[in-house]
Amino acid sequence: MTTKDADGSMAAMPLRRVSRVPDADTAPPELDDLLGRVARGDSPAFEQLYDRVANSVFGVVRRVLRDPSQSEEVTQEVLVEVWRTATRFDADRGSASSWIHTMAHRRAIDRVRASQASHDRDQRVAARDHTPPYDEVADAVETRLEQEQVRRCLQTLTDLQRESVTLAYYSGYTYREVAELLDAPLGTVKTRLRDGLIRLRDCLGVMA
């Protein structure tokens, strides 16, 4: 039996972030634990880790780079680098997820800045969009929840905060380029990037 309100509609269940509150017996291993096993040369753990992060790594790399084959190449580079340097991961300096995605984003940025001529980048401005697209395949429930939550939280930012954050992070521009694109003072963009992320952090409930 489900409980019904007086008007007959079903009571909304509170949305619980199941993925963040795992049941110790049945939950898949936490990414941090997997990475710890990878650091000890555990290949099956690396396969599990691949399955957990390949889509998000590929997603962010492709978001920045656009070019699918380059994105595939960089994704491969990043994931092999995760394997190679897992021994250097320091849980005191952030989560495994943060470590891996920071690496992925940085690699994509390095690639785009090294290889793309400025006119290519201008074209990317034309093609830019500022929110995580829904059609980007969200096979896992966790990813869908994540997308919804991030989208909702991005909406709590001011326009300038949101544009600064998304142009910098998703489109890969330096904050100087962002200032130019938005025709805003450098100092303002610098500040908006910071307070925009801080607001996002608070909205998402990010814990370091």
Binding site: R40, S43, Y50, S56, G59, V60, H101, T102, Y175, L200
Partner: protein, 243 residues
């Protein structure tokens, strides 16, 4: 830029929106700014949520390629210090240094690497030599690309080699005391050729620098008559070969 200006760059840093010069400036500032470090950790975690939110299905063929490449890629040995936030970025895959895999004796390496920089120098040496040796040890200990290996010395005790570039630092600990008239001696071995790298005394804890290491060279420890030998006269009790 003032410290305050630098502090407000945490957002640009966390989104990789700084150019190379500003990044370098900010990272220098970061080393001495605990609150910035904390904020960077949090903002990077936030940015990684933006990454997850833009997930896309990775090409199916990628999985096998990544797993295959990983299986033929040697993992780095653990570092003897807290890795900087950017340690993992943009490092090219380097070839394996040693034929022997790094052991799990990382804990020993941490202590050795941490202690190397501040080693008391051998008082029997000339001051210049001692200073040069201390500098070499410090440089190797601080090299982010250094390789480390710890293994048992067959006659007792433990040997650790930390290498970077053409310099290898050997550290022996708890080497059993030899009878009067004998000494431990360290060698750089290139093919058939052995070059003495130092006479280390009768045991205990010892550290020595080996210079001129080539890609195929070995570091070897033997037991010799107390004045040392021109070439090894006994089988090594410890041997590490660079690959």
């Amino acid at each position: 830029m003032t410290d305050h200006d630098l502090h407000t760059l945490t957002g640009a840093y966390a989104t990789d929106a700084l150019d190379d010069d500003e990044r370098a400036d900010f990272e220098r500032h970061l080393e001495s700014c605990a609150s910035c470090q904390q904020e960077v950790v949090e903002l990077r975690a936030t940015a990684s949520r933006l990454a997850i939110a833009t997930s896309a299905t990775a090409p199916a063929a990628l999985r096998a390629r990544v797993l295959a490449e990983a299986s033929s890629t040697r993992q780095l040995s653990p570092l003897g210090e807290v890795a900087s936030l950017d340690d993992h970025r943009a490092k090219q895959v380097s070839p394996p240094w040693y034929r022997q895999p790094a052991t799990a004796a990382a804990a020993v390496l941490l202590v050795v690497a941490a202690g190397l920089g501040g080693l008391a120098v051998d008082q029997n040496r000339e001051a210049d030599q001692a200073r040069e040796r201390a500098e070499q040890i410090a440089a190797v200990a601080a090299d982010p690309d250094r390789e480390e290996l710890t293994a048992a010395v067959s006659s007792g005790g433990t040997g650790t080699v930390v290498a970077a570039g053409d310099i290898a630092v050997f550290h022996g600990s708890d080497l059993p005391e030899l009878p009067d008239g004998q000494t431990y001696q360290l060698w750089r071995v290139s093919g058939q050729d052995s070059q003495s790298a130092g006479i280390l005394g009768r045991g205990g804890d010892v550290t020595e620098v080996v210079t001129g290491m080539g890609p195929e060279d070995s570091v070897a420890l033997t037991v010799e008559p107390e004045s040392g030998s021109d070439e090894p006269t006994s089988d090594p009790v410890f041997l590490v070969t660079m690959a």
